[in-house]
């Protein structure tokens, strides 16, 4: 049993819903008690979809448990087939139905429906949402795709025949999936690559059957599509992409990878194309971004990509990285090594909060959970990954991938920060009524209260670390006053470094001198 206040991922059947809702002509019959229909609102309210998710819930109640819940399931499957006329059906159980062991797959089979029926086994007490999405997509492809060792391209004019790929991974309720697909489709088209099928987003069962009719697969979201891509590689001889094109460098590497897979010349695609973000990062006004301390947390793919962009394309220093995707912990640990930090692999947001408080980063790149953590701690934050929120479905075009995605990253990550000159002025002059050290960046409303956030931050940081070492030392009044002149965003770190220095040197009373000795000792 695990005490959980907020979760990063829903149960695995929500992952299955993300696949079903992304697709056309599919219906998911879910054996589930009353109340599980809450999941519909994720799609209709958060993503603002205009249609209901194609899901029928059996809605069993306590009084049914003694009776025939299996019959309830069969009726639901029969009725939804008649009403919605799907061309393929998914059947499965939510957490409670898993316990009553009605075997939706067997029951559906007994109905002998004239369409493919895919039975999902999604262990709700072991697995989570992304795993459920991945498994559902995989089972669906296994059931519907026609294994075909060689793409059937006979009869095509070999002169005009273009290399052809599938795009795999985008789902409903995905973080910017809608826009990423558009960006990458445009990029592929500009390279002369034809897109056979995009799946699951927008695909019908007939499209899944056509998956094998491509030369290779583009995997945009490994959490969702790796399993399927591996199966397609084994059974349809389709290699798949490993680079996720987030950031300028990754986009260029992606183009290179596509060119290799498609037998094209990459130079053409690489020439003349670049993101405005690259120049913005090089422009002198961005100098102040150098070594900004950033903490990264999200699903594995987005976290690894964000850390790389932060470090290599914006000149930030990655002080921490983590993920809630345990299935991809290895990839994140490897990335962490490159930054000389320990990866935080957890789905407990309190642990993430303690780490952020301890590290005192100047910017958090995280999920909506980290946005709240950062808000509490008074640290700027930008959202880079699911779990999603209504704000993660912007009305405007806002991809994360490709060149335009790199531009979006630059804007959204730099915007929450204090601008360079403003930061300098704060370092030089203190205590002006409007323009003071604890004010938020002026372009973000200025007067925001930071004192409370600072207190919270310090309390959490102190609770998080064993403060035994700081007990032996205490602060002189002069040193305390001097500390207050240090801008908020580095003050916590200055305090802790000084205390650490004092403890190491056996200094009992911290003076102004100790403060500056520590500053010189740790440098920045």
């Amino acid at each position: 049993m695990q005490l959980t206040l907020w979760t990063y991922e829903g149960p695995p059947h929500v992952g299955a819903m993300r696949i079903a809702t992304a697709m056309e002509g599919i219906h998911y019959v879910l054996h589930a008690p009353q109340g599980d229909t809450y999941a519909d609102l994720l799609f209709t309210m958060i993503e603002r979809l205009q249609k209901r998710p194609p899901v029928t819930y059996t809605t069993f109640q306590a009084r049914d448990l003694g009776g025939d819940t299996a019959e309830l399931f069969k009726n639901a499957a029969r009725e939804s087939f008649a009403r919605f006329k799907p061309r393929a059906m998914l059947v499965g159980a939510s957490c409670t139905a898993e316990l009553i062991q009605d075997d939706p797959g067997g029951l559906a089979k007994a109905l002998d429906l004239p369409i493919p029926v895919v039975a999902l086994e999604l262990p709700a007490y072991q697995r989570k949402e992304n795993w459920g999405a991945s498994e559902t997509f995989y089972q669906l492809v296994r059931a519907l795709a026609k294994p075909n060792p060689q793409p059937d391209r006979t009869g095509e004019n070999t002169e005009t025949k273009k290399p052809r790929c599938n795009i795999l991974g985008p789902t409903a309720l995905g973080f910017r999936h809608r826009d990423d697909v558009q960006e990458i489709s445009t990029l592929l088209a500009s390279m002369g690559v034809e897109i056979n099928v995009v799946a699951p987003l927008g695909a019908a069962p007939e499209d899944i059957a056509q998956l094998s009719n491509a030369d290779f697969n583009v995997v945009l979201y490994p959490e969702i599509a790796n399993l399927t891509a591996q199966w397609l590689q084994r059974n349809c001889n389709q290699p798949f992409t490993k680079v996720v094109p987030i950031g300028v460098k990754a986009t260029r590497a992606f183009i290179q990878e596509i060119a290799t897979l498609a037998g094209l010349d990459a130079d053409g695609a690489l020439r003349g194309c670049d993101a405005r973000a690259s120049w913005y990062a090089r422009s002198v006004d961005s100098t102040y971004l150098t070594n900004k301390r950033v903490f990264v947390f999200g699903d594995a793919t987005h976290a690894v990509a964000a850390a790389r962009v932060a470090s290599e394309e914006l000149g930030f220093t990655v002080v921490g990285i983590g993920t809630y995707s345990r299935e991809f912990a290895r990839e994140v640990r490897e990335a962490a090594k490159a930054y000389g930090v320990d990866a935080l692999i957890t789905d407990d947001y309190l642990e993430v909060e303690a780490r952020v408080a301890e590290l005192q980063p100047e910017l958090v790149l995280g999920t909506q959970m980290e946005r709240h953590i950062a808000k509490r701690l008074g640290v700027p934050c930008a959202v880079i990954s699911a779990p999603v929120h209504v704000q993660d479905f912007p009305a405007r075009y806002s991809p994360q991938m490709g060149y335009e995605g790199a531009n979006v990253l630059f804007d959204t990550w730099v915007h929450p920060l204090m601008m360079g000159l403003e930061e300098h002025l704060l370092g030089m002059f203190k205590g002006d009524a409007e323009f003071h050290e604890d004010a938020a960046p002026s372009h973000l409303g200025g007067a925001a209260m930071k004192e409370a956030a600072q207190a919270t931050s310090e309390a959490i940081a102190q609770a998080a670390e064993t403060s035994a070492q700081t007990m032996a030392t205490h602060w002189g009044t002069d040193a305390e006053n001097e500390l207050k002149k240090i801008p908020f965003f580095v003050r916590g770190k200055a305090r802790r470094n000084t205390e650490r220095y004092a403890a190491e040197k056996g200094v009992a009373l911290i003076t102004v001198e100790t403060l500056y000795d520590a500053k010189a000792h740790f440098g920045r």
């Binding site: 049993m1 695990q2 005490l3 959980t4 206040l5 907020w6 979760t7 991922e9 829903g10 149960p11 059947h13 929500v14 008690p33 009353q34 109340g35 599980d36 229909t37 809450y38 999941a39 519909d40 609102l41 994720l42 209709t44 309210m45 603002r48 979809l49 205009q50 249609k51 209901r52 029928t56 819930y57 059996t58 809605t59 069993f60 109640q61 306590a62 049914d64 448990l65 309830l72 009726n75 639901a76 009725e79 009403r83 939510s94 957490c95 409670t96 316990l99 009553i100 262990p123 709700a124 007490y125 072991q126 989570k128 909506q368 959970m369 709240h372 509490r376 929120h389």
Partner: protein, 430 residues
């Protein structure tokens, strides 16, 4: 999947007491009782709600609450995993460990609810015994109670009913020789409670108590001298539990709208022996204010057709208010559950021949709704945008539960919840 039954009872009665009710069975597009935690944890300020359930339960509460992340919420989920399913003895030990961990972290908590869920009910995890066991361990600083908010047993607001019913046995016993005491039962916004307290004082009723309390130590004493007045229509089990302790219900419509509020206050006043003149004087100013405010909005709603999907059990009192005070026409009034006794006064006030439905077969109901093309649809969050996309105008039902709507000074706010979607549609169309 649908079981349709038309039940006709007692044709002599007035209003809708004799109206046929369409009973349906199928997919219910409603929340389970766990959702009540969202407002209950704000109401009782030193209580913590620990759901013993699955990841789905945690995800539900989080999603239903939007992402209103408070500093640290006073609710959480002990997520059952595979090992807990393997052996129940271990599950109990695990639960004890989680409670220990939680209470160590939150020393300010005085009342802890172990909230049962669908999985905990199905595996028959005995939370009543767990609560008793843990109570002994943490007494007297923390009291530990349990109730079920599971979807297999409760629909949305029935979670509050189950929660309040679980508190009734621990209410102190009142002094048997004392005079009649009045207890208002059901969660009301603090601002609404304070307004009612002022109105009661003006009638000379100084000792009206409220349940649930704002703090765990504010439990009202009850006994045979207690007369209780329901502020919410969904409290069937709580009523029964209170009656078992000797308290008696004061029958009244619910305090929604001017008429409902007047009759509700009047029922209390009569029990307290407040004279008619004093009662009228006490409420005159507030009622007049409300009448003027409601009258201003009437033209926007008069003659408009409204359709209620089942959600909170507030549907019948709301329909009564909209029909009688604003002249709306009721196309269908769905309720998840119809408690005839606690709803008798409301049913009597509903226009005759109102189409009532109980339970749900959401597909059939959507067919009826789309066929009827009402001017306004009250429905859950899963249905609202898809219906808007069909060109219908909707009002989220959940907002009617999360907004202070009871009493005179909220009557106009309540009207506004219904006029706003219509005004908005007109504005955007212009």
């Amino acid at each position: 999947m649908s079981i349709l039954a038309l039940i006709r009872i007692n044709p002599e009665n007035q209003g809708c007491a004799n109206a046929p009710v369409l009973r349906e069975r199928g997919q219910h597009e409603v929340f389970c009782g766990l959702t009540g935690i969202i407002w209950l944890h704000r109401k009782i300020q030193d209580a913590f709600f620990l759901v013993v359930g699955s990841r789905t339960c945690a995800h539900l509460i989080q999603s239903a609450a939007g992402v209103m992340i408070f500093a640290e919420p006073r609710f959480g989920t002990a997520i059952i995993d595979e090992r807990d399913l393997a052996g129940l003895a271990d599950a109990n030990a695990e639960l004890d460990r989680v409670v220990q961990q939680l209470l160590a972290r939150r020393p300010e908590i005085k009342l802890l609810f172990l909230v049962g869920s669908c999985p905990s009910e199905v595996i028959k995890l005995d939370l009543a015994r767990a609560a008793a066991r843990l109570s002994t361990k943490f007494a007297p600083s923390v009291r530990i109670l349990n109730y079920s908010g599971s979807g297999i047993e409760t629909t949305f607001t029935q979670g509050e009913d189950a929660c309040l019913a679980s508190m009734v046995p621990v209410l102190p016993k009142s002094d048997a020789t004392a005079g009649t005491e009045i207890l208002v039962v059901g969660t009301l916004a603090d601002v609404v409670e304070d307004q009612f307290v002022r109105l009661f004082r003006q009638m000379g009723m100084d000792s009206v108590k409220f349940f649930p309390p704002r703090h765990a130590d504010g439990l009202a004493a009850i006994g045979p001298n207690t007369r209780f007045l329901l502020a919410q229509p969904f409290l069937a089990d709580t009523s029964k539990a209170l009656e078992n302790r000797g308290a008696r219900r004061v029958a009244a419509p619910y305090p929604l709208g001017i008429e409902g509020t007047t009759l509700w206050l009047q029922a209390a006043a009569q029990i307290a022996g407040v004279g008619h003149a004093r009662f009228e004087m006490a409420i005159a100013a507030a009622r007049q204010r409300a009448s003027a405010a409601v009258a201003r909005s009437r033209p926007q709603l008069e003659g408009k057709r409204i359709f209620f999907f089942p959600d909170s059990q507030l549907e019948i009192p709301l329909a009564r208010f909209l029909a009688r005070e604003l002249g709306m026409r009721l196309v269908e009034v769905g309720t998840p559950y119809l408690h005839r006794q606690n709803m008798a006064e409301e049913l009597a006030l509903l226009p005759q021949d109102t189409m009532l439905s109980e339970g749900q077969h959401v597909e059939n109901q959507l067919d009826r709704c789309l066929e009827a093309q009402p001017d306004l649809v009250v429905c859950g969050l899963g249905l609202a945008n898809p219906l808007e996309a069909h060109g219908l105008t909707t009002k989220w039902a959940i907002e009617l539960v999360f907004t202070p709507i009871q009493g005179f000074d909220q009557a106009a706010d309540l009207v506004e919840l219904f006029t706003r979607p219509l005004v908005r549609r007109l504005r955007l169309a212009a």
